[in-house]
């Protein structure tokens, strides 16, 4: 009996301790894949969010506590992670990192009225999963359309081919909008080849399909891991077209062991450049490298912006940490479309449906950094 009473007392004390913590600081949940094949993206977001929270807390004003959970990029695990964080008193969700998981969480969060700001879930359907979800990154359709327009404007004679991942919402979304825009503006696509995640080891067939069709400009709306293998196998087949990636290609230069010759002259559309020399980028990159021993990728930059956007939104809406998450959500939803934010990944404003508007930026790899491709 004594033991039970002692346990109960301990539980009550813990709960009051938690409640006290919740009253002082905003609890920001971060859900993303920190293990599994997409682990580099989720880890980058969580790392950056924690780093920024310290930076903001040191200023003395608004206080943030970041709680991270792993979802391996999977919808079901993401909802579990969401429920766990809700039990721990989450006020706002900075997440989730991948589109598929984000949509799964958004529909639950929409019913429960929890505000979500996703740093990197770029699928167009993400915003349609709820009115309380906003994006930091481009939507996939913006990227696809932007890429097609850039190619039409800068390489009008290109014989374009696409290699995409048909098991990834991100890749399918960009591919679809790329094709639609290309059809509208008269950019011809002469070959298209897909792969699926599980078979992402050998691309000799896809590379051969491009080569045989006479493609001289390969569009790669995929992440950099398979892209590296595609570049290697193209080289092995003596095939040297121009490669054009999207923001998933960002971070390729930081991959350990990469032969930099392989990626020379590769183009990509990305809002973040870790080698930029403005004060904000230098400050963030230095701190991140110091703490985590790796150069931040675009996902980290998106999370950095995400945290500062939350800070700006909280200040503008006049929130306090003791409010309920439902009240916070209503105020934040109202205030988001009025904000103007200047961050690492560009100048941003939001429409009421949660889509961000910022300029796409085409770069080319030269040596070990990006140069403007215009």
């Amino acid at each position: 009996m004594k033991k039970i009473i002692a346990l109960l007392l301990a539980a009550v004390m813990m709960m009051t301790a938690c409640a006290a913590m919740a009253d002082e600081a905003f609890i920001i949940g971060s859900i993303g894949p920190t293990t599994g094949p997409y682990a580099q993206y989720g880890s980058a977001v969580e790392n950056a969010a924690k780093l920024v929270a310290e930076e903001i807390n040191a200023l003395g004003g608004i206080q943030f506590t970041v709680l991270g959970e792993d979802d391996q990029g999977d919808g079901e695990l993401a909802v579990n992670a969401y429920n766990k964080l809700m039990d721990e008193g989450m006020d706002i969700l900075l997440g989730t990192v991948t589109s598929g998981a984000c949509m799964a969480v958004a529909s639950v969060a929409n019913e429960e009225r929890l505000f979500m700001l996703t740093p990197s879930a770029s699928n167009d359907l993400v915003n349609q999963s709820g009115d309380q979800i906003f994006q930091v990154c481009f939507t996939d359709s913006n990227q696809g359309a932007g890429s097609a327009e850039w190619i039409k404007a800068n390489r009008p004679d290109a014989k374009v081919g696409i290699i995409y991942n048909n098991a990834l919402d991100y890749s399918i979304g960009i591919t679809n909008s790329f094709e639609n825009t290309a059809a509208k503006i008269g950019l011809e696509i002469i070959a298209k080849s897909a792969f699926s995640d599980d078979a992402a080891a050998d691309f000799s067939v896809q590379v051969a399909a491009m080569k045989d069709a006479g493609v001289d400009f390969v569009f790669l709306p995929i992440y950099y891991t398979p892209a590296i293998t595609i570049l290697t196998q193209a080289k092995a087949a003596d095939y040297a077209p121009t490669f054009f990636g999207v923001d998933g290609m960002d971070g390729v230069l930081e991959v350990e062991g990469l032969d930099k010759d392989l990626v020379q002259g590769v183009y990509m559309l990305t809002p973040f450049d870790a080698t930029a020399t403005d004060e904000m980028t230098v400050n963030f990159v230095t701190k991140y490298v110091e703490r985590y021993g790796a150069t931040p990728n675009q996902f980290a930059a998106d999370a950095y912006d995400g945290m500062y956007i939350l800070k700006l939104a909280i200040e503008t809406a006049g929130l306090t940490a003791d409010m309920s998450y439902e009240d916070m959500c209503e105020k934040l939803v109202a205030v988001m479309p009025t904000l103007q934010y200047k961050g690492l990944t560009g100048d941003m404003t939001w429409s009421a449906d949660g889509t961000v508007s910022k300029l796409p930026n085409a770069v080319m790899i030269e040596g070990d950094h990006y140069v403007s491709a215009e």
């Binding site: 293990t35 080891a201 087949a237």
Partner: protein, 294 residues
């Protein structure tokens, strides 16, 4: 025609990697009657060790491969001692679940040690390759070395299990553990040795796999591991030439399926073929049809 030949070459190369992995699966299954699901992850460890040896410690490619072989062999023996040996009398399900556990353990240890970011594995093969048909078809050094290694490994293993005393002891244990023990064969040593050989082959497979398809992540070994397991079943699990045949056929089916049927359905085709083969010939292509005596 040229594109057909180029697919053939790529299929042979991929198939040879599957075959080397499948040989490891098959040997271990033959003697321990267990599916070592951690085999694919030993491949990944081998590739990481070779990567570290050449990138961080500045060793030559050949020495880095030797490092990987030594580490994997030791790792295989340790895994067997700690995870499987205590379960030798337990049911096969317990061992199977343990193997899956070891697989996740290795993956997550790799995640802890080397991090989530992929690494690019630079090929350990210095030989550039050559072109045939007036430069229309290029055969890379990786393809040549992979195929030769695969055949050499198969021949060596056949010789080892057929002609040497230790090899015959392994076969005896695989046929009847109790009788082998009564004949004075050290059963535990034979099983450990098999795991050592299997893991040694995994190191070779890891280095060859990553030399051809050069990104290295903690999950790198899992899909090739599953495909190679399929190949081993396809060829007749427990049979050495069967594993080789199954691996090469699987690689060819995968590449040709992707080239001429659909790039998206390649895996579905591979596993559909497996189902058909198992329906027609349940013991696999070269498997022995052993009658259970009651």
């Amino acid at each position: 025609m040229i594109s057909f030949l180029s697919h053939l070459v790529n299929g042979l190369s991929l198939g040879s990697v599957y075959a080397i992995i499948a040989l490891g699966y098959s040997m271990v299954y033959g003697i321990a009657k267990m599916l070592n699901f951690a085999h694919g992850d030993v491949i990944m460890v081998g590739a990481y060790i070779s990567f570290c040896a050449s990138q961080y410690w500045g060793l030559s490619p050949l020495v880095s491969v030797l490092c990987a072989m030594v580490v994997c062999t030791v790792l295989g023996i340790i895994i067997e001692r700690l995870a499987y040996k205590p379960l030798r009398q337990a049911g096969s399900l317990a061992v199977l679940i343990t193997a899956i556990g070891v697989s996740y353990l290795l993956q997550n240890l790799a995640l802890l040690i080397w991090g989530a970011n992929p690494k690019v594995f630079s090929s350990v093969i210095g030989f550039e390759g050559f072109t045939v048909f007036d430069g229309q078809l290029k055969i890379t050094g990786e393809v040549v070395v992979t195929v030769i290694t695969c055949v050499a490994v198969m021949l060596l293993l056949t010789w080892f299990t057929g002609k040497t005393r230790t090899g015959r002891a392994i076969r005896a244990v695989s046929e009847d553990k109790g009788a082998a023990q009564l004949m004075g064969i050290n059963v535990n040593f034979s099983i450990s040795l098999t795991f050592a050989i299997g893991s040694f082959l995994a190191a070779i497979a890891g280095v060859l796999l990553c030399s051809s398809y050069n990104t290295l992540m903690p999950t790198t070994g899992s899909m090739p591991g599953i495909k190679a397991f399929t190949a081993a079943v396809f060829g007749g699990i427990g049979s050495i030439p069967g594993a080789m045949l199954g691996g090469i056929l699987l690689g060819l089916i995968e590449i040709f399926g992707r080239a001429y049927i659909s790039t998206e359905l390649a895996d579905a085709i591979v596993f559909a073929v497996l189902i058909i083969i198992l329906l027609v010939k349940p013991s696999g292509l070269l498997g022995k049809n052993v009658q259970e005596k009651v």
